[in-house]
């Protein structure tokens, strides 16, 4: 649903007559132009999957990462303007580091996401700056509090989720995520499902090559956020490709 702001959309410090801040909405459109990122929380951890579109064959493999480490125990998957996202990952890292310096222990994810969301929100108040054009998903695992997943969007709000998706195919991804019984799954099972969802929502026609970036944090990694090991990633991608082929085959039979 798009509408023209005409005059009320020139700065973030202006409301429109129907109570909208158009600059923030335009920032969210910037996120929708980017490729999809999903995060799902399961029984014993959190798994991130990002559809990283390869724009040129000259890129080094594994460059232009879309998943960041904020502290040992927190991962951040982003969608939208990558430069904005990188700057926010630095903000998140500083918050986590200051917290650890002052209080001696890991920053709780709820608090971290609230602090970064407050920072993002501050940029939606003034005409001198523009809002951040990125959304990001934060995930962590703690022995006592268990797995946590939060998403922050350009308006500066943060919510906790069991599963969420951001980027161009977020609606399709959300539909797929809702089919999962994530509360009963372990990370190892979930990795394969996340890979499958990314493969499903990837548009073969409009975007050609893509690289799947997978990371997890949970009991399986002892609370450390890290990229999924190569052998597990290869297995997950194989599962994803096989599932897609099966679906294609079953469609042919029905005809």
């Amino acid at each position: 649903m798009s509408s023209i702001g005409t005059g009320y959309d020139l700065s973030a410090s202006t409301f429109s007559p129907d109570g909208r801040v158009f600059q923030v909405e335009y920032a969210m459109k910037a996120v929708e132009n980017s490729s999809t990122a999903i995060g799902i929380r399961c029984k014993d951890g959190v798994v991130f999957g990002v559809e990283k579109l390869i724009l040129s064959k000259l890129y080094e493999q594994g460059s232009n990462k879309r998943i960041f480490n904020v502290d040992r125990h927190v991962g951040m998957a982003v969608a939208g303007l990558l430069a904005d996202a990188r700057s926010l990952s630095e903000v998140a890292r500083e918050e986590a580091s200051n917290f650890r310096s002052n209080y001696g222990h890991n920053i709780p994810l709820k608090y971290l996401s609230e602090r970064v969301a407050m920072y993002v929100h501050a940029y939606t108040l003034y005409s001198a700056v523009r809002p951040f054009g990125c959304s990001f998903i934060l995930g962590s695992y703690d022995q006592d509090d268990g797995p946590q997943l939060y998403m922050v969007d350009p308006s500066g709000i943060s919510f906790g989720y069991w599963g969420c998706a951001i980027g161009k195919a977020k609606q399709a991804a959300k539909t797929e995520i809702e089919k999962l019984q994530m509360k009963d799954m372990t990370c190892r099972e979930l990795v394969k499902e996340v890979a499958k969802i990314i493969y499903i929502v990837h548009d073969e026609v409009k975007d050609k090559a893509f690289e799947l970036e997978l990371s997890w944090v949970g009991e399986v990694t002892n609370g450390k956020h890290e990229l999924v090991p190569k052998d597990i990633r290869v297995e997950a991608e194989k599962y994803a490709k096989d599932s897609l082929e099966e679906e294609d085959d079953s469609e042919e039979d029905n005809m």
Binding site: S101, N102, Y103, G104, H105, P108, Y111, D144
Partner: protein, 217 residues
């Protein structure tokens, strides 16, 4: 002798003191004497409270310059209560001890105060942390501090057992304080003890004449 005199002029009232904190099965006991002195000659207070409550289940005992200790604990109490409200949950004992440590370390040139932080939290249960003069933070099952502690290292090391019951631990803490107060001239008065468990906080005061006696006739 002269250095001692100089110290009391610049530092004023000090707590030559005995403080301790001991974990037991299900909680922690923190205790101190109640004497404040100037220069080791004059007892400026017989009944000061060196056990400061910094949060619902976290206490701090102070040693060194009383003024410095009170200023630091006041700032720490504010920071910890603000932190707890932001977190929407009771603070971890480690967080409280870290706040004290940051204050002591960042102001180490001006300050002359050491602390023992003890308490209970949901994550790790009963804990004891020492924050030394320069800002060192150390977690221990039990710890003793202050000038009077030098006289009871032997007793504490010999008699401490992990996982004591509350009564055993109370006996251990009371004995330790009594022995230290009996030998250290700048420790004395009454024995203050606070028992911290998940259920709550219990404050026990033992007047000087009710303390256990050790060959005192």
């Amino acid at each position: 002798m002269e250095r001692h005199f100089m110290d009391s002029q610049t530092k004023g009232v000090s707590t030559g003191t005995t403080i301790l904190a001991v974990t037991f099965n299900g909680g922690v006991i923190i205790g101190s004497d109640s004497r404040a002195s100037i220069g080791g000659y004059y007892v400026s207070s017989k009944t000061i409270n060196k056990l400061i409550q910094v949060h619902d289940r976290i206490f701090c005992c102070i040693a060194g310059s009383l003024a410095d200790a009170q200023a630091v604990t006041k700032a720490a109490k504010f920071q910890i209560s603000f932190h707890s409200i932001q977190m929407e949950s009771p603070p971890l004992v480690k967080a409280a001890a870290s706040v004290l440590k940051e204050l002591c370390y960042n102001n180490k040139e001006e300050l002359q105060a050491g602390f023992i932080t003890a308490g209970w939290d949901r994550k790790k249960g009963p804990q004891v942390y020492t924050v030394a003069l320069g800002g060192m933070l150390l977690s221990q099952p039990f710890t003793i501090g202050g000038s009077g502690s030098t006289y009871i290292y032997g007793y504490a090391d010999a008699k401490y057992k992990p996982d004591m019951s509350k009564e055993e631990c109370l006996q251990f803490a009371t004995n330790a304080l009594a022995l230290a107060m009996g030998r250290d001239n700048v420790s004395g008065g009454v024995a203050h003890l606070v028992v911290i468990t998940e259920e709550g906080v219990e404050h026990i005061v033992i007047p000087g004449d009710k303390l256990p006696k050790f060959h005192d006739e």
